[in-house]
């Protein structure tokens, strides 16, 4: 289940206006994604680590999130050095390891970790409701913001249906094994899960209609754009511009 583990807190980043956070996170990601300079990228990674430190988040949880991303990157390390054309620096049996390949893999590693860390520090420190609200204030179309919100909401619904069905299996002594009975049971489980979640999502939507929902999500807490938001935002944006200007 998606838990908003980091959304509660009282660090500088938790208090920062979500609109500022979204803009900073977006520009940071774009800049990091298109830059190929090692100096800029190393500083970007430092910024990202710094931001996580400022947000005072649980280290263990952050590492476990990074592991997920880096397990994909690990696959790149298995492939890129051997397949990327370039100067040969080492030969392993008949496989050539190219310098460019290693550089390229390193580049991707730094980029993705910086972006993920910045995302954790900036975006996961707001609740989904606030992010949705902020996106609306940034003039993202209603349909897109709702899509974002309901994807979140129904992932949770599907997950709780899964737990319910899984418990129903367990209490009748089901154990997953490598046999046809297991496959069939899981197929039923997935099918039932989708049907049930679909039904439930319809009922939730109906309940929303009954409470006067007309396609717009209003939030209870309004953002107040404070002076400190402006200052922090400007400092962050200047850092990002600095990244581009680095030699």
């Amino acid at each position: 289940m998606i838990k908003e583990k980091f959304s509660e807190g009282d660090s500088l980043l938790h208090k920062l206006d979500p609109r500022v956070k979204i803009i900073v996170a977006l520009s940071f990601s774009v800049i990091v994604a298109v830059t190929d300079k090692y100096t800029s990228l190393s500083v970007a990674l430092l910024f990202a680590v710094g931001a996580v430190a400022v947000a005072r988040l649980e280290t263990k949880e952050i590492i476990s999130r990074l592991l997920v991303v880096n397990s994909f990157i690990f696959l790149l390390w298995l492939m890129l050095p051997f397949t990327f054309p370039g100067k040969n620096i080492y030969t392993l049996d008949s496989l050539n390891i190219s310098q460019e390949g290693i550089k390229y893999a390193l580049l991707i590693t730094i980029k993705s970790n910086s972006i993920i860390l910045a995302g954790i520090a900036l975006l996961s420190t707001s609740s989904i409701f606030n992010l949705v609200h902020a996106l609306r204030h940034l003039y993202l179309p209603d349909k897109l913001t709702q899509l974002f919100f309901f994807t979140y909401r129904y992932t949770q619904t599907i997950h709780s249906e899964y737990i319910r069905l899984n418990n129903a299996l367990k209490i009748r002594g089901f154990k997953a094994q490598t046999n046809f009975h297991t496959y069939r049971t899981y197929a039923y489980l997935v099918g039932m899960m989708l049907v049930r979640s679909y039904d439930r999502s319809k009922r939730v939507y109906n309940a929303m209609l009954c409470r006067g929902f007309k396609g717009k999500l209003w939030t209870l807490n309004h953002f107040v754009f404070k002076k400190s938001d402006f200052v922090t935002g400007m400092v962050m944006i200047s850092c990002i511009i600095g990244l581009v200007l680095l030699p």
Binding site: E4, F129, R203, A207, R211, K214, L220
Partner: protein, 223 residues
């Protein structure tokens, strides 16, 4: 639109309805409900009690017949927007009703849809929580509430819209006696409220309603 006193605010005439590939639930069904009435609705499972609520709210549409609510015929989706703003339906399963992360946001959802400003909404929120004995629940996470709490919060989310008529679908099911007693008190403390309650809890209906109707075989009759 002003409706005359004692005239039916919900008027259903010759209504027919069937779910896909099933027999008719209602055929030439008639039902009237006036302001100030507090009625209980009983009947076997599958007799169409919940369906009736959904037809009133415009979540389902009849194949034939006429639904007049607040003196106006209601046919298409847009006709029901006003109905939903003035009649509150509390679903049987609170997990269908609650969708916001916190209790406060879920309760505020309705009033904000009614375009109340933030000050008004906060005031309504506070009053609603107090009325329903939920003070201090503002920041609780909705999916971490106990079942009984979820039921009360569900009622609160609809209560906050200050509906003229409440439709309650099995409000006491799976609740302990204390929580049921709480709901009885809340309803009886608001004698001007009109409502229809679907319930199989005879004691609860005796304490909260003054008339009971039974639905059976697509018909409704007073008992």
């Amino acid at each position: 639109m002003k409706e005359r006193k004692n005239e039916a605010v919900i008027k259903i005439t010759d209504l027919s309805f069937a779910y896909l590939s099933r027999d008719y639930i209602f055929k030439k069904f008639n039902f009237n409900f006036s302001k100030g009435e507090r009625i209980g609705l009983v009947g076997p499972n599958g007799s169409g009690k919940t369906t009736l609520f959904h037809l009133i709210m415009g979540l389902l549409h009849p194949s034939e017949g006429k639904i007049e609510i607040f003196g106006k015929e209601r046919k298409v989706e847009n006709d029901f927007i006003e109905v939903r703003e003035r009649i509150g339906l509390v679903f049987q399963d609170p997990d269908d009703q609650l969708f916001s992360p916190t209790v406060a946001e879920d309760i505020a959802f309705g009033p904000l849809n009614l375009r109340k400003n933030h000050q008004e909404t906060k005031k309504i929120l506070k009053e609603t929580l107090e009325t329903l004995g939920l003070a201090g629940f503002e920041d609780r996470i909705t999916y971490n509430l106990s079942y009984g709490e979820k039921r009360l919060v569900s009622l609160a989310t609809v209560w906050a819209m200050q509906p003229e008529i409440l439709l309650l679908d099995e409000p006491t099911i799976w609740l302990d006696e204390e929580t049921i007693e709480k709901i009885v008190q809340i309803l009886n403390n608001h004698p001007h409220l009109s409502y229809i309650i679907i319930s199989h809890d005879k004691k609860f209906l005796r304490e909260t309603t003054n008339k009971t109707f039974k639905m059976i075989n697509g018909k409704i009759e007073k008992i």
